[in-house]
Subunit: 215 residues, 2 copies
């Protein structure tokens, strides 16, 4: 009975890690749509979000079923509750990559990002990618030490967002108000993607050490 | 035993409704800080967020304790899981009101909102206020019909946000890029506050009718 329980719990963690991979791909593809002004890629990210939503709901249903049938207590209970929370994080990260793809689509056939700022956006996307990868490994291996690195990456993300805003607010900015707003919102979307990765990691740290915040 | 369980569950719902009141106040106060350029009010919202976080964690701990000790199944289990999710919504709404207060603080002694756009921001805040109030009543009374009204208010919020963006992108806009970005972000913050109210309502609808999405 208990063995079967742990098998099911492990299967849920595996699926959570696999879903994290899908979300990571959505973020990378939405960035590609943005920087290469590729409408097909943007549409694929937008259409693909329903797969992420469906996967989320399927894992969620199984976690709830396990809660109801096995009635775990203590750490096992907390792990399932943490899983439910991480699913919410992943679903939001998927939504945020849809927002990025929609900004890309709105400005077709141009890129929403002036060429000079491509490196900054590419750097934010790369930090986000690395943060999602770290979160995934932390979930898979309960690697609490990696969580500290993730916080450092989050600082890097904040730095990049400030850099982006400085460029947009510079007196030499010549692209007008609309691209400035797009970039401010894009900066916010990538920052939030990073925040959700940090939040996933913190949930694992809390599970393993009992330290830190639950939410 | 079961009676005591329902008493505890009711107490948790009462506390959730009371927390919703605190969040509603934070949103209203952050808007006041913004429109009246009142630094003291902005600081109070920012400092007060830790009370919202603490209340969230306290209710969460009690919900987890009830899960662990009473091991509810079926609807009772789903209600506790929905409660945990609604707590995440409320905490995020508190964070978003802090974001609004920080925009207000950054532009002191001026208002971050040009006088001409005060009515639009006031209208967004008023719709947000009404949406949080609806969500609170839906949670308290399981009033599924009110959830439909909430969706209509969400449409109104979207309309106001588009109106705000149109003003900022109008050729007659004379306030420069920085206030434009502030307003685009403020629009996003109020929209997200509304989204979280909708998400709370949907969770109650799902609980009562079994229809709709869990997340």
């Amino acid at each position: 009975m208990r063995d079967q329980y742990y098998e099911q719990l492990d299967a849920i963690v595996d699926d959570l890690v696999s879903l994290t991979g899908s979300v990571r791909k959505a973020v990378a593809e939405s960035t590609r749509a943005l920087l290469e002004a590729d409408g097909n890629v943007a549409e694929a990210v937008i259409a693909g979000d329903k797969d992420i939503d469906e996967a989320t709901e399927m894992i969620e249903e199984r976690a709830l079923l396990l809660l109801a049938t096995q009635q775990p207590v203590a750490t096992d209970l907390r792990q399932l509750v943490a899983t439910l929370r991480m699913l919410t994080d992943l679903q939001r990260m998927g939504d945020l990559s849809v927002h990025v793809a929609k900004v890309a689509r709105r400005r077709m056939p141009d890129s929403a990002v002036p060429v000079k700022l491509h490196p900054t956006i590419a750097a934010m996307a790369s930090v986000a990618d690395s943060m999602i990868d770290s979160a995934s490994r932390i979930v898979a291996n309960r690697d609490v030490k990696a969580a500290a690195e993730l916080e450092a990456e989050d600082d890097e993300m904040d730095k990049l967002r400030r850099e982006l805003l400085r460029s947009v607010l510079n007196v030499e900015w010549q692209h007008g108000v609309e691209p400035a707003i797009d970039l401010a919102l894009l900066g916010r979307y990538y920052e939030r993607i990073g925040d959700h990765a940090v939040s996933m990691a913190r949930r694992v740290v809390y599970l393993v050490t009992g330290q830190g915040q639950l939410t």
